[in-house]
């Protein structure tokens, strides 16, 4: 029996069980290969304000642009199979970091190496075309994540069943409530499995029932030994329960990077 099976059997009582992975990892993380390497990464937001034609014509002299450094010289490694939690106050560069890892924009300096792993980013309001039906959006998202049509076709019914939004699956996404939207988004990323999953504050979507279901699904997914997960969250219980390592970011820099039991008490103290 695999670990996943064991987990499935107890799926309904999960939530009060501590980290399910504790006994499973024979090799310590330090000896495993890296899945994500982040080296000396800085990410700037130049205040490249979208201007008008007029402004561009008349401001011939170079305007000094303000630079806001969202991520400042950050380096860390995530070994294969690790679950890294990132926390920190709002605006500390967590989501920016996640987006850079996902490749949506690249780092201004330094480098991010995924060692050839496939990756998906799950965040509130995943990219849907609002005019299209849920079903079509599943197909398109799948193609964008690098799956081919046949694979998506196989998983389609599973995704639809998991999302559990009834007949809305064939309605345009613009008619969805925000809960349905997030449920569908979560289902796509959860069922179409990539090697690295980046999760941005979505474990609290949907109603009570879906929240529990998605939380359990998360646990099931990350219980697979070769899956690497990065979670951004403010929820102490999520971080404590799911993560092997916690990275605390503040103003674009890493304050601490260590085991949850080490970081979380200090962080809680700081936030008071």
């Amino acid at each position: 029996m695999t670990r996943t099976d064991v987990f499935d059997e107890h799926a309904d009582i999960i939530g009060n069980s501590p980290s399910i992975r504790q006994d499973a990892d024979e090799t310590p993380f330090s000896e495993r290969e890296s899945a994500i390497s982040v080296r000396n990464v800085c990410i700037d937001y130049r205040s490249l304000k979208a201007g008008s034609v007029k402004q561009n014509f008349f401001s011939l002299k170079k305007v000094q642009r303000e630079v806001f450094r969202a991520v400042n010289n950050v380096s860390f490694e995530v070994p294969e199979g690790q679950i890294l939690g990132i926390t920190g106050k709002n605006g500390s560069g967590k989501s920016t970091m996640l987006r850079a890892i996902a490749g949506i924009f690249s780092a201004d300096t330094g480098e991010i190496d995924l060692h050839g792993h496939s990756i998906s980013l799950l965040s509130i309001g995943v990219g849907f075309d609002k005019e299209l039906s849920g079903r079509e959006n599943i197909l398109l998202s799948g193609l964008l994540l690098g799956f081919d049509k046949a694979e998506i076709g196989e998983k389609m019914s599973e995704i639809i069943a998991f999302a559990d939004i009834g007949n809305f699956i064939d309605m345009p996404v613009r008619t969805y409530s925000s809960g349905m939207y997030s449920k569908l988004a979560f289902s796509i990323t959860a069922i179409l499995e990539t090697e690295i999953m980046l999760i941005d504050e979505v474990l609290s979507v949907g109603d009570q029932k879906f929240r529990k279901k998605s939380y359990n699904k998360m646990k099931e997914l990350i219980s697979k030994r070769d899956r690497t997960v990065v979670i951004v969250s403010h929820s102490m219980s999520t971080l404590e329960d799911l993560c092997d390592q916690i990275m605390w970011m503040h103003d674009g820099e890493i304050v601490m990077l260590d085991k949850p039991e080490v970081v979380l008490p200090v962080y809680m103290d700081f936030m008071k």
């Binding site: 979208a50 561009n56 998906s120 398109l140 193609l143 964008l144």
Partner: protein
């Protein structure tokens, strides 16, 4: 350039699927669905045919067909150009969540509008039969002409995508320029006959849309050869503009997501 082909290869399926879905949703949302794609240019053709054929007494042979060919090609070009200005903003939900080579969005739009244009071509074929136009071997000139249309449109779109991100009022500027180009392309009149002769060579050399549309009419309706020299010259120019545009998009794609 290698990267361009690699990205195109890995994403063309997405492009096609995305264009298909958009077409489907457009159909689903209207009562007469795909008939609109034919009906719209057809009605405009009737209006122009009346105004210019009856009121202003135009003397082109097969005048309705003459207009309809012009409208079909122009509509494709016009739609692509207008839509590319806001393309990053309109696809914000997608580009901020997953990496996508940005020019793929342009390819998607071209497939979308190209498919609509196909419907107009069906009408053109029907009209050719109806007006008993004699087709000649010169119809093969359609191939380089259409190639130029696609290449030139794509070339302009790459630059509009880039500047459209940073300049919010670019849309107003393009609509003025497009309107001007519309009248200088000769959709409902023959520029070679109607304009003062001193302007004709200039327009027929500097306006690729006029070259394409006049060329298509010549080889399709009147069995004449188009001016291949300028078609080839503009293909080369378009290719260069497109390469510069794609490179510019690659260089700047980092900042797009941060600005929108």
């Amino acid at each position: 350039m290698k990267r361009f082909w690699r990205d195109l290869k890995s994403h063309y399926k997405y492009s096609i699927q995305s264009a298909k879905s958009s077409l489907k949703s457009e159909i689903a949302n209207s009562y007469l669905n795909w008939i609109w794609w034919v009906l719209e240019p057809f009605c405009f053709m009737l209006i122009y045919a009346f105004i210019f054929g009856v009121v202003f007494d135009a003397k082109e042979p097969n005048f309705p067909l003459f207009i309809f060919v012009g409208l079909t090609l122009w509509d494709f070009f016009n739609r692509c150009i207008v839509q590319s200005v806001k393309i990053m903003r309109n696809n914000k939900a997608i580009v901020t969540k997953v990496y996508l080579p940005k020019f793929i969005l342009l390819v998607t739009k071209m497939i979308f509008n190209g498919y609509k244009m196909l419907f107009s071509w069906v009408v053109i074929l029907i009209m050719i039969v109806y007006f008993r136009v004699q087709l000649t071997w010169r119809v093969i000139y359609l191939i380089p002409e259409m190639a130029l249309l696609f290449l030139f449109t794509f070339a302009l779109m790459t630059h509009l995508l880039h500047y459209g991100v940073f300049l919010q009022d670019l849309e107003n500027v393009t609509s003025i320029i497009l309107r001007m180009a519309y009248f200088m392309t000769g959709i409902f009149f023959n520029i070679e006959k109607r304009l003062p002769p001193q302007y004709v060579p200039l327009l027929m050399k500097c306006n690729p849309m006029a070259i394409v549309i006049t060329g298509v009419r010549k080889c399709l309706l009147y069995g004449e050869s188009p001016n291949m020299t300028w078609i080839i010259i503009w293909m080369v120019i378009s290719l260069i503009i497109a390469i510069l545009g794609v490179r510019q998009i690659y260089r700047n794609e980092n900042s797009y997501v941060k600005v929108i």
